[in-house]
Amino acid sequence: MAEMRMRDALREALREEMLRDEQVFLMGEDIGAYGGSYAVTKGLLDEFGEERMRDTPIAESGMVGIGIGAAMGGMHPMVEMMTINFSFLALDQIVNSAAKLYRMSNGQINVPMVVRMASGGGSQLAATHSPSLEGLYAHFPGLKVVCPSNAADAKGLLKRAFRDENTVIFIEHTANYALKGEVPDDPDYLVEFGVANTLRSGSDVTIVGYSGSVHQAMRAARMLEEQEEIDAEVIDLRTIRPLDIDTVVNSVKKTNRAVIVEDDWLFGGFGGELSAQIMERAFDYLDAPVARVSSKDVPLPYNRNLEFAALPSEEDVVEAVLRMFKE
């Protein structure tokens, strides 16, 4: 175990996987000498050289398409989208090629590839550079969507992504990059997909989050305990496709209340899917409708006050929980 930031844990995962498997190579904008926009790939060029650390032109669709072709040819590429917004430019390749080839070829061709993307608001980057699209990617059958909340999970999940036979969309919240945590140094340390993590056990309400929103959920749980004597259970989904719905449903059967916290927009967001699944499976156990705490339905503003008003906060979560107990 060593204490490190999430960005360093991600780098360790990449380095270990490149050492383990010579078919792993990395592509992206400024991942080489620059070290990546969020410094995740810093130093890897010196260690692995230009053939396995490829700086690409600014051409997202091209680089993801090349990744797909390389994967079809027997390699295991990782493509870094500098930020998740740029992935719109590669959406066709991700959705029409990466997610569908295994299916359309009747199982002849699979696309083992990791696409890493930096996501999330809170840094005053304004509307084009702040969206949270985990739910969008989770919509497409054939993709896996991973969204770690902490350094240890980031390492274990990223290493696990390189063992997968499919395209894994690996989404990193920019607010998490500098968060420190204890990270196992075992080179075989993996975190399995589709296994949620119950971070805090409680009996009164279940708060579910993923990626950045896990931290609002945890802060809200502490506030509820200290200020309201409400005992909240907090679940970190870790991956939203595959989705560990059993852990969520079992928790809700115990607490009888569920709040979903996410950076996604309310309308058509992933929380809507999760809410529907909870109601389908645990309707008789619910003492209140499932509550969703999401981003407001607006493109994210630049101004700091407006941006914070648009994003979900721990106060919003506390408020949602209290409403459930009043009604």
């Binding site: 051409a59 090349i66 040819g73 070829s105 199982g107 002849q108 061709i109 997968d164 499919n166």
Partner: protein
């Protein structure tokens, strides 16, 4: 860098090779004509894009490859599949949507795959497969496989950004990729001259890639250009671009009323038909006579009829397979 390619002398290739070219072109022609009939009878559904007229492109180009090489192509892909030696029975079964089809009935006309032949698919999103061919080249380089990737696409692709992204990166990384453009003059119904402000080989040349334009109605000219392209790519010199000027006799798809072109334009191209051309060349060289050609025609008829019978007899995919092949599990250890 753009130079016209002359047709090779028929004698350079030998009677056997020429006979194979002729057989393959007649097979594709007949297969496609039958597909058109079967579509109107409702046996083949979905979109159907016929390849008649363009046979010399598939046959001349693909014959220049080795077994270890890879192919990705566009959605008008039956001709390429047959030229690569995919089983006509299983290609027809795929068009019928049957379990025995090359894609198990999950792909249909536009998505034929057979990895045992290095045939990595027809792609129905225009230009989406160009970057894939660069990636296949990267894999070949990194794994030191000595294989090349042939990417076949239409003139409609050149307006897409991915065309430019793929060409640029393939030159930067010197990938063994051959870009083979079947220029049939129309992107669906829009003439190329109305959708492109320059000539296609000039685009390739602008990315510092050798580019040639060749008569795509002449299988020998196509083949000669492709031999050069493959030799270039395989010897580590990077990508190569071939434009084959061709023409499709049928509409864009079976749904095309063909309001955008005149009958005499089609007739003009039919006079330059690739099959007739090779036949004449072989007759003149004493490599073919009417009896031998009749043998080819009879054999083709049998292969096509057999493929239809095979497709008819084949089972539908079971409904219990609906959820098969969405993701590949389990993960590697």
């Amino acid at each position: 860098m753009t130079t016209p390619i002359q047709s090779a002398a028929t004698t350079e290739l030998g009677e056997e090779q020429l006979g194979l070219f002729l057989y393959q072109m007649v097979l594709i022609r007949r297969f496609e004509e039958k597909c058109g009939e079967l579509y109107t009878k409702g046996k083949i559904k979905g979109f159907l894009h016929l390849y008649t007229g363009q046979e010399a492109c598939a046959v001349g180009a693909i014959a220049a490859l080795e077994e270890r090489d890879k192919i990705v192509t566009h959605y008008r892909d039956h001709g390429h599949a047959l030229a690569r030696g995919l089983d006509p029975n299983r290609v027809m079964a795929e068009l019928f949507g049957k379990a025995t089809g090359v894609s198990g009935g999950r792909g249909g006309s536009m998505h034929l795959y057979d990895i045992t032949k290095g045939f990595l698919g027809g792609y129905a999103i225009v230009a989406a497969h160009l970057p894939l061919a660069v990636g296949l080249g990267v894999a070949s380089q990194m794994k030191k496989e000595d294989s090349v990737a042939l990417c076949i696409f239409g003139d409609g692709s050149v307006g897409e950004g991915e065309f430019h992204e793929a060409l640029n990166m393939s030159v930067l990384w010197k990938t063994p990729t051959i870009f083979f453009c079947e220029n049939n003059l129309y992107g669906m119904g829009v003439p190329l001259k109305e959708s492109l402000s320059t000539d296609i080989p000039k685009l390739a040349a602008a990315y510092n890639m050798p580019a040639v334009s060749v008569d795509g109605m002449d299988v020998l000219a196509v083949h000669t250009a492709m031999k050069e392209a493959v030799a270039h790519a395989r010897s580590g010199n990077g990508p190569y671009f071939v434009e084959a000027m061709t023409y499709r006799y049928r509409g864009h798809s079976m749904a095309d009323p063909e309001l955008y072109r005149l009958k005499d334009e089609i007739e003009r191209y039919r006079k330059r038909d690739c099959i007739e051309r090779l036949k004449t060349q072989m007759f003149e060289a004493g490599q073919l006579d009417e009896a031998k050609f009749e043998q080819i025609a009879v054999r083709v008829e049998q292969v096509v009829e057999d493929s239809i019978e095979f497709a008819e007899r084949s089972p539908q995919p079971g409904l219990d397979t609906l959820f098969d092949f969405v993701t590949k599990e389990p993960a590697r250890g």
